[in-house]
Symmetry: C2
DNA sequence: TTGAAAGCGCTAACAA
DNA sequence: TTGTTAGCGCTTTCAA
């Protein structure tokens, strides 16, 4: 039976209390609590200490411990748009799990493009003696690194900054683009259109490169007229429907799931069936959309969870070092029924 | 020009270093750093201290401060599904901003229905001497509170637990349901169907109550045959399309945006136009969907950001106390073009 | 096998 | 106006 003397408020019970209760020194308590190797504690003493702990409801003070031991178990994670999509959430989740696994705790800060908030957040993390910082964005892009980040170990997550020298963990856009296209090729399509984004980004160039690479590997000729640009949203996909049809393609690789969603609409309005008349694959694997469209959308996953987790590993020096400091994470195809 | 002696590694510069450099005592440094009221420091001394700080690149150690001052600036936030939807992210964002405003930092832990992880997370927070804990779920429901939460101040966020005595911040489902229905009534509709969820939940009963209440306020009769149940997903909305049409309704209030999305599909397949043939309103204001459907969906927002922020305020005792410990947050209508 | 004591970086009386 | 001192809760030599 526990007493939990410290309950909600009132002075928390400390090691000293335990020592007194058990009739030993704090050093001894510390030793049994941490199961120290060096010091051998008598079985009987150990018992008494544990009993006192149970009785009084002791819980170690992580902050005091950190101060004493000199290094904290915090890792900071600054995210740029936690509330917009589930993507940032997945990064956090992955980082969280991996950090946890190694005994670290995440200090999360959201900053919506607000430079002042960003600096405050980083300062806060530094003041908390974080082991390092993960700087993440919710979509893959090049960024300019805040000066203060150089005061600790930092790894860029889902973003990069050439010349900063900071390690970066990003999705392998080219491999992803290739995987998407390959799905279509494997289903026998020869004339495959690609709706690319209009926004300059690693996704724009990377996925295009992947598309071409897949075509090439299969001996299919690249036809520039088959790549059509569209705003990377539902509206964009809807608007290029006619162009897609006019292109004579039997399949289309969409820059993302939202574009695919718009295209579905456009196709449906014209009485066309997916995948019978036209096969489509998306990119992102955005659950609400991809899994619930009719028919469910075959797509390529942006592995945000993995990216977050890998970020932690890189920070902790657990990942095999890449000489270019660029860690590419695989984007796997998710097969559903649109091909 | 700064030297940043502590740079990435190597012993960080402490108050003692500053004191030595400025030729004063640490107490003095502490006073100028914290801008203490009581102690008046000579302008010249203050200068010297600031210069030393700039020169050496000093940054306060928040952990040591906490230990000394006795109370930490941490607030724990345990979330149950941070990666699934943007909802959890919005809660975190709101909590984050509000906590920040009051000088607190968020310790975030994600636990996917994993009871063990949950206990670990709470223990971790307690060990870090959190000021309190926000326990949140990503959709409004009744939960069973983990025992350990009673060891600190906690507030339930987007969930509740009758009998636990814990304050809870939740969306006002009834008011939201009423707002949604009212949109339709205001547009002149008299025969309004309601696609409700099949999942027992505060949303099921609350939104229905709101629907009836709106009808009643406008002198419209409630017709049980107009409320149709469906799985709260795209598929559910699609499947009840025929039933909706058969009901003769000129407008429909969908349990959520996903259902509305499915209904849109069903309607389109049948050649029906929204809103000309049938007006529809959703619920949730799930950005990817609601804002990008054609036509954009009028809906009611689930104010997750506000809920997170209010949670912090309740925890810190900044919100006017509710006698039932239930804090209802308003769900505003978001007008777009489906009505 | 156990304990005493110093120290982590900072704050807060209280003196000077 | 500034410095001295005693902690905060814990770890860690070093002695006993």
């Amino acid at each position: 039976m526990r007493t939990e003397r410290h309950s909600k408020h009132g002075a928390p019970v400390t090691m000293r209390d335990i020592a007194k209760e058990a009739g030993v020194s704090v050093a001894t308590v510390s030793h049994v609590v941490n199961n120290k190797q060096g010091a051998r504690i008598g079985e009987e003493t150990r018992q008494r200490v544990h009993e006192a702990i149970d009785l009084l409801g002791y819980r170690t003070n992580a902050l005091a411990k950190t101060l004493s031991v000199g290094s904290s178990r915090f890792i900071g994670l600054v995210a740029d748009a936690i509330a917009t999509t589930p993507f940032a959430g997945q990064i956090i989740h992955g980082a969280q799990d991996e950090a946890w696994k190694h005994g670290y705790v995440l200090l999360v800060a959201n900053i919506d493009g607000n430079k002042a908030a960003e600096n405050d957040a980083i300062a806060m993390m530094l003041e908390h003696q974080v082991r390092g910082i993960l700087y993440s964005t919710w979509y893959h892009r090049e960024i300019e690194v805040p000066e203060s980040l150089h005061q600790t170990d930092t790894v860029l997550v889902d973003c990069f900054s050439t010349g900063s020298g900071l390690p970066a963990v990003v999705p392998d856009e080219e491999q992803g683009g290739k995987a998407a296209t390959q799905e279509l090729i494997d289903a026998g399509h020869q004339r495959i259109a690609f709706i690319n984004t209009t926004t300059p980004s690693p996704a724009l160039t990377g996925r295009l490169a992947g598309y071409r690479s897949a075509l090439e590997s299969s001996g299919l000729e690249f036809d520039a007229s088959l790549v059509i640009s569209a705003v990377p949203e539902q509206e964009g996909g809807y608007e290029v429907t006619s162009a897609i049809i006019a292109s004579g393609a039997s399949a289309v690789f969409c820059h993302n799931d939202r574009v695919a969603m718009g295209l579905y609409d456009g196709l449906r309005v014209r009485g066309l069936d997916v995948p019978k008349d036209i096969a489509v694959v998306g990119f992102d694997n955005q659950e609400v959309i991809a899994a619930h469209l009719r028919p469910p959308l075959t797509t390529v996953a942006l592995p945000h969870y993995e990216i977050g987790a890998a970020g932690i590993r890189v920070l902790l020096g657990l990942e095999r070092e890449q000489d270019n400091a660029l860690y590419l994470i695989n984007c796997p195809a998710i097969k559903r029924q649109s091909v």
